[in-house]
């Protein structure tokens, strides 16, 4: 803490100032006022860290408490600024307790950031000729491991040339920055395939910002649409490509990723069929076991939607609790129940929102004829029956 007296010096010239302040306050010369002191009160429970200025006399505190001060007037007395910003005050609320003034920022102070605090006694309703400044800092938290790309789905290294979306999974929460400028599609020669994606400036994070969805430009994917006619598809069957994620993409702590990430894949012919659950192969485990039910698809389905769009239940019953696993390549889906299988008729419940990564959904391919009537609508869900055989 630094103590300045009337702008004329530091601690060395405090004595005459003390005299002047004491005289102004009508305090006995033999009893100098308590020095003003700024401190940071650490966070406790649900209370965020705040600034406290101590050293006010009971009379000063009473006068201040009784004074109806605007925020602007308060900020003249107790000024809190982000260090390096000499213009604007941090917004917050002021209060007076016995012998202290407190400032609570509207938003908690950032760990590791320093704030410059100034208390100007000259601005008090009963002025005291003392200006106190102090720099505060909430300690930074422990440094966690650097974030990295954990995986990109579809997994398995083969993508249809009409792929519509892929997911980038991170090892820890990322910043709010979108993929703009951080994700590229490159061809075998390493050259970037331009204008491949939907503009990447849209927030397509999941809830905890560990997964970002990238859409290929559907106008290039879909036959007959102008970008497709003029530019063609970004991917061509038989060729090799890579998705490159730049290490500069900042994580939740503002740090770059541990390293650049490359996901190599080969483009396959377009997939243009509607998803047809009736064509799936269902491998039913025996009753009494907790073995996984394994559902195999003729082609890969969307990893994200597979997490929520298929359920299992006794025929006409309620959903069974369990754990879903999706195999590499998204060609099979495993469901391990929490309790042992009971014998009898069961069914898969498949929501019609389930799509493959090319946007073909249950009962409706991504590309449909214009003015097709009626629009194919399989309803909200379809069921696929299977039987759990008794031992």
């Amino acid at each position: 803490m630094k103590l300045f007296g009337n702008g004329r010096g530091g601690r060395g010239s405090a004595a005459p100032v003390v005299f002047l302040v004491a005289a102004a306050l009508g305090v006995s010369c033999s009893r100098p006022p308590t020095p003003l002191e700024i401190s940071l009160v650490p966070a406790s429970g649900s209370t965020a860290a705040f600034v406290r200025v101590t050293g006010l006399s009971p009379a000063e505190a009473r006068t201040l408490h009784a004074s109806p001060l605007s925020d602007a007037a308060w900020a003249e007395i107790l000024r809190v600024r982000v260090t390096g910003n000499d213009e604007l005050n941090v917004a917050g609320t002021y209060s007076v307790t016995s012998g202290a003034v407190e400032f609570r920022p509207r938003f908690p102070f950032d760990p590791g950031r320093s704030y410059s605090v100034q208390f100007d006694g000259n601005r008090l309703p009963s002025p005291r000729q003392a200006v106190v400044t102090h720099t505060i800092e909430v300690p930074a938290g422990p440094v966690s491991a650097r974030t990295q790309v954990a995986s990109i789905a579809p997994t398995g290294g083969v993508w249809p040339e009409n792929l519509l979306r892929f997911y980038i999974q991170f090892s820890a929460p990322m910043s709010r920055a979108t993929a703009l400028g951080f994700v590229r599609l490159v061809d075998e020669s390493g050259a970037e395939v331009k204008e491949a994606f939907l503009p990447l400036d849209v927030d397509l994070w999941n809830g905890d910002r560990t997964r970002f969805t990238v859409f290929f430009d559907p106008g290039r994917v879909k036959r007959g649409i102008r970008p497709n006619v003029e530019l063609g598809r970004a991917l061509h069957a038989g060729r090799k490509y890579a998705i490159v994620v730049d290490a500069a993409w900042p994580d939740a702590h503002g740090r770059p990723l541990a390293s650049e990430f490359r996901y190599a894949f080969k483009a396959m012919p377009a997939e243009e069929r509607a998803v047809a659950p009736a064509d799936w192969k269902v491998g039913a485990p025996p009753a009494g076991s907790r073995n996984a039910l394994v559902v195999t698809f003729p082609w890969a389905l969307d990893r994200g939607l597979l997490q929520r769009a298929i359920g299992v239940q006794p025929a006409g019953g309620t959903p069974i609790e369990g754990v879903i696993a999706i195999d590499e390549g998204e060609r099979s889906w495993r469901f391990t129940p929490s309790a042992s299988w009971s014998p009898g008729a069961h069914e898969l419940v498949v929501l019609s929102i389930l799509e493959d990564p090319a946007g073909n959904r249950v009962g409706r391919a991504f590309e449909i004829e214009m003015f097709q009537k009626p629009l194919t609508n399989p309803g909200e869900r379809v069921t696929v029956p299977f039987t759990i055989a008794g031992r």
């Binding site: 917004a91 910043s175 879909k222 006619v229 298929i310 909200e380």
Partner: protein, 364 residues
């Protein structure tokens, strides 16, 4: 099932089928101000009600700002270094501030800016007001009142105890004939859907979800998402003018927005590839109405609205662009845009150095 549903709090605007009445959660009055988890798109109703989208909570709040609707002076003054200044008031650095939208209050003409303070999971929402003196103030949301509506649940077929990673980004919204119309984009399913809910929010009518198609080149249709839209009367008929990726302009009559119908919009202009619209406003100048549209890579376009009623539907491939418009060369780096008053627009502009400014411009 209940536990799974509790975890599935990231919601979708419209994930059911076209024929479904959407099962939105009940609406609720919020007695002590809105409890935003995040704050994104903003839109003012004509009476000064502020509609604010909360993506993380999958809610839309209708906020009565009360006395905070106006600062000490009317209008909005230009602010250079906007992100740095907003950050300073919020007690952080510009790198920790994400500006999500801009809207001008209809009577005070102060600008309201939605901001996320922080980058990580503990980022906090803030609503900032800039008045005619350029004073930056944080709106104390605890001193406002609000009603809210929760967007429809995404469907879940599983009982796995896992959270649902589906989220819904609200791209744009507007109050149209007593209904709040919302355009969204999901991170899992790709379709053009509008959600329409009556305002004032009421438990009796939780809104409808409509899937929109627009004709494109004769043989195929597309249901690409709507990025920006504006309500507009075309030949006396209430209509949504919608901007899509790469960049068809499409008109959809409000009367067609009925659940269970296959809603087909009409493409009335093609404004160029490699681009998406950001914001739209309608204004009048010299007795002629115009649409002003900001774009990610094709600048700001001034589009005469008289053609909306008369342009022939575009059903064939267009080499380049089609429809009358003028690109305003002087307006570069425009990220947000709203109508400030009858003669001026207010912009958030990102300069070559990356810093953002709040800038007033005479309507072109």
């Amino acid at each position: 099932m209940k536990s799974a549903l509790k975890l599935a709090f990231v919601l979708g605007v419209a994930a059911l089928s076209v024929s479904a009445q959407v099962a939105a959660r009940p609406v609720a009055a919020v007695p002590a101000g809105p409890a935003f988890q995040s704050i994104g798109p903003l839109a003012f109703g004509p009476d000064g009600t502020l509609f604010a989208g909360d993506r993380d909570a999958a809610m839309i709040y209708a906020v009565n700002l009360g006395a905070q609707a106006a600062g000490a002076s009317q209008g909005t003054a230009d602010v250079t270094g906007l992100d740095q200044k907003v950050a300073a008031v919020l007690g952080t650095a510009a790198s920790e501030v994400v500006i999500t939208d801009l809207a001008v209050h209809p009577t005070s003409h102060n600008s309201f800016i939605s901001v996320m303070r922080g980058q990580g999971a503990d980022a906090k929402p803030a609503l900032v007001r800039v008045d005619g003196a350029g004073t930056i103030a944080i709106v104390d949301l605890a001193k406002t009142t609000a009603t809210s509506v929760t967007l429809p649940n995404p469907p879940v077929a599983t009982v796995t105890g896992r959270g649902n990673p589906r989220t819904q980004t609200i791209m744009d919204m507007a109050l149209v004939n007593g209904r709040l119309v919302v355009a969204g984009l999901s991170n899992e399913d790709f379709a053009s859907k509008l959600w329409s809910v009556p305002y004032p929010f009421a438990t009796a009518d939780r809104g409808t979800s409509i899937e929109i198609f627009h004709g494109n080149h004769g043989r195929l249709e597309t249901n690409s998402p709507i990025f920006s839209f504006v309500p507009y009367n075309v030949a006396g008929q209430p209509t949504v003018i919608a901007g899509y990726l790469c960049t068809p302009l499409v008109k959809i009559p409000m009367s067609a927005l009925k659940p269970g119908e296959k809603v087909l919009g009409t493409t009335i202009a093609e404004l160029g590839a490699g681009n998406r619209p950001i914001d739209m406003i309608v204004y009048t100048k010299g007795g002629q109405e115009y649409l002003l549209m900001s774009n990610t890579s094709r600048g700001v376009m001034k589009i005469p609205t008289s053609q909306f009623a008369t342009n022939a539907p575009i059903t064939a491939s267009v080499g380049g662009t089609k429809g009358a418009f003028e690109t305003i060369a002087s307006l570069q780096g425009v990220e947000q845009l709203d109508l400030l008053d009858n003669g001026r627009t207010i912009l958030i502009v990102r300069g070559a150095d990356g810093a953002r400014s709040l800038t007033t411009v005479v309507l072109p």
